[in-house]
Symmetry: C2
Subunit: 375 residues, 2 copies
Amino acid sequence: MKHYLLAPGPTPVPPVVLQAMAQPMMHHRTPEYEALFAEVRRDLRTLFQCKNEVLMFAASGTGAMEGAVVNTLSPGDHIIVVQGGKFGERWAEICQAYGLHVLAVTVPYGKSVEPAMVAEALRRAPGTKIVLATHSETSTGAIHDIHALAGIVRGTDALLVVDAITSLGVMDLPMDSWGVDIVVSGSQKALMLPPGLAFAALSDKAWARVPEARLPKFYFNFAKERKAIAENQSAYTPAVSLVVGLRESLRLILSEGLPIVFARHDRLARATRAGVQALGLTLFAEHPGAACTAVGAPHGIDGGAVVKGMRKRGITIAGGQGSMKGKIFRISHMGYVDAFDILTALGGLEMVLADLGYPVTLGAGVQAAEQLLRQ
Amino acid sequence: MKHYLLAPGPTPVPPVVLQAMAQPMMHHRTPEYEALFAEVRRDLRTLFQCKNEVLMFAASGTGAMEGAVVNTLSPGDHIIVVQGGKFGERWAEICQAYGLHVLAVTVPYGKSVEPAMVAEALRRAPGTKIVLATHSETSTGAIHDIHALAGIVRGTDALLVVDAITSLGVMDLPMDSWGVDIVVSGSQKALMLPPGLAFAALSDKAWARVPEARLPKFYFNFAKERKAIAENQSAYTPAVSLVVGLRESLRLILSEGLPIVFARHDRLARATRAGVQALGLTLFAEHPGAACTAVGAPHGIDGGAVVKGMRKRGITIAGGQGSMKGKIFRISHMGYVDAFDILTALGGLEMVLADLGYPVTLGAGVQAAEQLLRQ
């Protein structure tokens, strides 16, 4: 059976990237690696749209999230979390693990926090050190308006820290020009790599906080990593094969061109939304993003049964996490995905829904997507 | 030019492992991954010679070292570090970053701490919570007698925590039968994988400490990882491609058989030592291990020049780190290495030493190694 990977991470890895990673192992303390790493560092700055170095860790994205917290805060600090899903909650959990005072600005799953709510929270809590937000909330498919949040936080002493794990390379996030202070991301989403690399980029305002941050840290020590990167190295052994792959995936992304990459993701997301809506299904997110489309499971049908039915036909999508289990399913259009992957997902979905007894006109979702994709 | 990787990590990756990792990406929340992970978990327990689950993190080995500290200790705790090189010092640095009281039992680089010194330190500091040691001190090539240390620590309330990053799969370390409480390791050494996976295995005595340990942690939270592993998953997205490779490398190691793998490493190490000594060079470690051989740079010759000369001929070895820079060079015989790699290293070394003006009989080191390897 052929396999189609359309879950929101890990995402498909292009053959050229797989081949690069299958070359014999390279040592990281060699001129060959340092030439490669210099190119990767330059291209990461282009991707992050920032002037400062992008730090890289052998870790899942969560590691860089923890790093953003422990490198900018001290015990007892007050922080605000923008929270509308599992990954917003993760910011709060990290801060709670370190004994910080968390003010959560929360909306129900599927909704997005209005920037005005954050402005109000900052007025009520003027000593807030950082505001932690999720650009693309992968668990619900919703996006937050980071541009507006940056405008609000920029005028305060607080830092804006953004989880861009499923938005970097999907949607525009010009961190320097918007004034975002820390952007963290991971390898296994729009970067089209296996999981295992985490990234963090800091503004000058964020770097100024690092020396005074007293939370303990070792592996995710940003200052130590910055010192190593100034010598074109990493503080600890880097995930060499993934960095080799990263060079290739950055070349793919930047040769396509960031604006075109963003437009492609937007187009595939709109086609997916048109397709599922043509089948009479509803979108779970009020403000859906271009990374993945969360779809409400129709009345009487378990979202998990949809995921299982798709898997039997060779297609991997994702179900709902935690309290959303069974209520939604999620189709990714991140990274190495094109129009025909969307038709595959919708075609599979139509057949699976029919199998499950949901009244569906076979081909109706595909038709709606094609109408949009032809343009 | 052909390339030969004989540095102490990353080490060469067997073609069958590279090919497995070059297969299309697999999602980790699928029956396919869970079948793979179940096999990996079982084989890791065999490799670690322990009954409890081996935890796995997307990280360098240092991440698991930090995890061992933050999951077993509370602020203000007293610990003992067994220290005779850069990696012993890393244990101390991690503990200092978390505000612990560190008693370092230190010997000069190249020496090994005598178990009696640790027994004496434990008598002087009876409140010690853990003793942190390095099995194979990669920076000097020396080994510590973990069996004897375990015998000493076993009778106390302290835990024995061992960095086995360059000893697991190289030298025998039966953690359960010796009574070692935590063993940490990494992927890019004898496991013959790219860097990016870290491991930690805990004894029952160590697990009993975890609930009361109050140092803050999130990504390297052992209890959370154990909960996830009980459901055959990881707490955060695993480094899927490396886990796919790990299945293959564990199959290779266990089909060769642990005793034979250990004997092979020992034989290659003895051949390397015989070879360099036949060239009139001296071993840096008083008690050298089977992972890598550290060789003193001959009088008037910079160890870095040896490393550079080898690189020009296609061979990557390692120089000395920190204060040992220029004074030593290190040849690895870990992982996917056989007799002819040793001859390659020695042959290259002979030519490079001659280039550098050191009086050497070409072939003398190779001859000594062959005499040993023929047996």
